[in-house]
Symmetry: C2
Subunit: 500 residues, 2 copies
């Protein structure tokens, strides 16, 4: 059933040009030992995968439905690192030996700016309509502001329309709603891996939608110009693979800037991905939740909403929210922009389950309309702080001789700790992750992003320098005890997830 | 497959004692014409039904999944009355000919009290944890307050525990989450009808869970002491009926005080319902969202959380929220109390899709802890206003000779307009509903609550007297044109829903 695809995939994975890793941060491939390079020749990485979230869980509750038991296990499994963290959070004064969190992708650099803005008097306004049931697409005055905000920051060629906007309590809810209204149970979205792993549960928990992975890897072949490069060829292969297994793929998920890689897609790349989707009648969900977190002034971000024309506008749906770009993930605010009114109305039908407090809708409208504060106070200061934190952490990584992907956007760095694994397995990756946790520093391991190569980690750097310094020190202490290169057998650990 | 049940159901429905309607408000059966009494003998009302939300919809979108098309249709269908209302809302000054809303169950009498309280300085507090990802069960300090609040107002025999509390963005989300974690797709909850019709979509949209109806009706038989009385016998028959059709019923939904009937269950009744559920290993979801809206001082409300012991505590799950009792449905705040940690954790796993803004969590904690304001300012004033509005509307109904169920709780009255239907059909009921709407007064018709007898309507009275006066005047004008009793054929209208 899968033979044709397997041959094609294997052919690509073992091509002679696929054996080196290049351009890993400023220290490029220097940090990569030859052993790991050889290994990629011997053990080709699969270029396609199919997620099966339920397969990981088997513990049934006598009180829950079958799906309820699986849903509960998602929480149990995902929470291990965070349970430990929340029981023992680092605090400079109260708990200096507590856990440093390099795992959660939050911007902790700008609470002062946001608290100050959200405490201004214009935010404290209440009218009866805010206390009553809203339109489940969001209050019209808020959708007006969102449309104007996105028109401006996405550089839309013509003003975006408020009737194409739906606001709900966070981007997770948008993934859940879109999965449910675009796919029937068991159908799938295509996504390149590594990717922000929480999407797995957002589309699966309610929607029972799976993800088909186009696996990217660190090897640079003749067709790629950098590690983990997303190409249409890889998407084509994964789609073909899914079809050969009878999986109905209904859409493509693009994350731009990408999480965890930090890649920013060029206009040409975006055009190619969107045209690929159009050829196969795939919806495209474009997650631009880091679009204002491009901190390097040399980088150019291209929003899908800023393109002169879209190949398939009725199947193009753009997600944005305030969690990352305004550092307020606790506010639960996400926006969908789609010209497709069937999609907008179907998502709005689920909106009664994803509603936002009316006064918060008012505050978000006030925030988004305050172009002066955003441009002159917030973004410039936020980007400067992100740049400083990024510069600090990359210098430290270079000192530690840890390879990484150089990024210009987002809150994280994708680091290569493969040389510290005893064997190239996810059990070993988990074991290393656990040693970091035991040494009071929480990271996210590559498996949590469905990375196909064991040994990659995501390190979140958007935090104050003293905390970064302490976290890096603890990482160093763990790694100094690790047997580099020596790939001897180590005791295996049960694999678990750690991502947020 | 269904023959045994059908005989039993029919036997009950046609019993000699089942032909009269009594105790309908202060004017009792006076408003009932003899023709409609006779009819119940001739056309027995089914005592059991099975909801099939998808059957009502057939319009497929080329862009949506099968379920997505159905989900979208829910919005299209439910919105007719509300679309008209929102395009033409009554305003004393700006739009005096606009639509008066007697349809949405909101308390519009206390915006002044709530706005004033929510604007106090203690509400405007921000700390970094409120801006960050929360625990998806809700912040611990909020769950502490909820546990203390429920312990006090539900008169819990021992203090309720914060670890048994989950908070999400509204009670709709709790129905969705509970349906999903307690039932697999196609399974069902048992509920007595008429019931708050939105529950249909809350359990179906994501959960694909159906409702089995134990139909109550206005006839008072030997076993009943009042119209629409819920008895264990009726629940038993409906459960048997569902089983005979191969439907797997996983839980019972109780609404107390009941919406739309306004019934308040006694401790003895509650005990009977809970023991029935235990006998059949059914979960019980108890919706107490109107528990503090018991405005008649002669009434006693018994919370399930205030019972000395529960027959099956691991399968008893209580829902409450601020939408009704504090008149802030726009705040989206609902709480679940369950001793079952599997259920609490499974619901919390879905909590990432139902999150509440951190600052709103803080405001809700401040509100719930302010026992002085709640007891000495809010509740006494709120109840006085509800009593006055209720007294006004019931006097008007009596003057109009419209029978109704007398209630002591909630925001609505269940009124009997059967004598104004040309024929006893839901098409006729819809037609009357539409004539009200055309005459600028929005009501909810019985079909929206899955009432089995055509001709009942829910009238929401929790509004200012001038609006009530104008709405009642418009109702009178419509009814004066109606041919009472004369059951001649009228042109049929396509049936649609109108509920909120």
């Amino acid at each position: 059933m899968f033979s044709i695809f397997k041959q094609e995939a294997r052919g690509l994975a073992t091509s002679p040009a696929s054996s080196s890793t290049q351009d890993l941060g400023t220290n490029g491939g220097e940090g990569l030992d030859s052993n790991s390079s050889e290994k990629t020749d011997k053990e080709p990485v699969n270029v396609y995968g199919l997620g099966d979230p339920a397969a990981k869980f088997s513990q049934m509750s006598p009180y829950l439905s079958s799906r309820g038991s699986i849903i509960k296990c998602f929480r149990d499994a995902a929470e291990e690192g965070y349970k430990a963290y929340h029981l023992d959070e680092y605090d400079e004064d109260k708990n200096p030996k507590g856990i440093i969190n390099f795992g959660t992708s939050e911007n902790k650099l700008c609470f002062d700016l946001l608290s100050s803005r959200l405490n201004q008097r214009d935010m404290h306004h209440i009218e009866p309509p805010m206390l009553q049931y809203p339109n489940w697409k969001g209050h019209m005055w808020l959708r007006d502001e969102v449309a104007q905000f996105l028109s401006y920051y996405c550089k839309a060629p013509v003003p975006l329309k408020p009737e194409n906007v739906v606001v709900v309590n966070g981007c997770a809810s948008l993934f859940s709603a879109l999965a449910t209204v675009l796919c029937d149970p068991g159908e799938a979205f295509l996504i390149s891996s590594p990717y922000y792993g929480a999407i797995t549960q957002h589309v699966y928990l309610y929607g029972n939608v799976r993800l088909v992975y186009a696996h990217l890897d660190s090897r640079v072949t003749g067709m790629d110009s950098r590690p983990f490069q997303l190409t249409v060829k890889k998407l084509e292969i994964a789609l073909l693979g899914a079809k050969s297994e009878g999986i109905n793929v209904k859409g493509l998920v693009l994350i731009n800037p990408q999480n965890p890689l930090g890649d920013i897609y060029s206009q040409e790349q975006l055009q190619e991905y969107l045209e690929f989707a159009k050829r196969h009648e795939l919806h495209v969900i474009v997650d631009e939740v880091y679009m204002l977190s491009v901190f390097d002034e040399s980088a150019m971000f291209q929003s899908v909403l800023g393109m002169d024309s879209l190949p398939d506008p009725q199947r193009t749906h753009v997600i944005w929210g305030t969690s990352k770009d305004f550092g307020i993930s606790g506010f639960r605010f996400g926006t969908l922009y789609t010209e497709n009114q069937d999609v907008a109305n179907a998502v709005a039908s689920l909106g009664c389950l994803h509603g936002i407090c009316g006064t918060v809708q008012y505050q978000m409208a006030q925030l988004l309309r305050d172009r002066d504060w955003i441009n002159q106070v917030y973004l410039s200061e936020n980007h400067a702080r992100l740049r400083a934190a990024h510069a600090y952490i990359t210098e430290e990584l270079e000192t530690l001789n840890i390879p990484f992907l150089r990024t210009k956007a987002g809150f994280f760095i994708w680091i290569d700790l493969r040389k510290y694994l005893c064997t190239d397995t996810f059990e070993e990756e988990f074991s290393l992750w656990h040693r970091f946790l035991d040494h009071k520093v929480l990271l996210s391991c590559g498996k949590a992003f469905e990375c196909k190569e064991p040994g990659w980690f995501r390190l979140v750097f958007s935090d104050k320098i003293p905390r970064l310094r302490l976290g890096i020190q603890r990482i160093r202490e763990v790694l100094e005890k690790e047997p580099q290169v020596a790939k001897t057998a180590c005791p295996a650990s049960p694999w678990r997830r750690a991502v947020s």
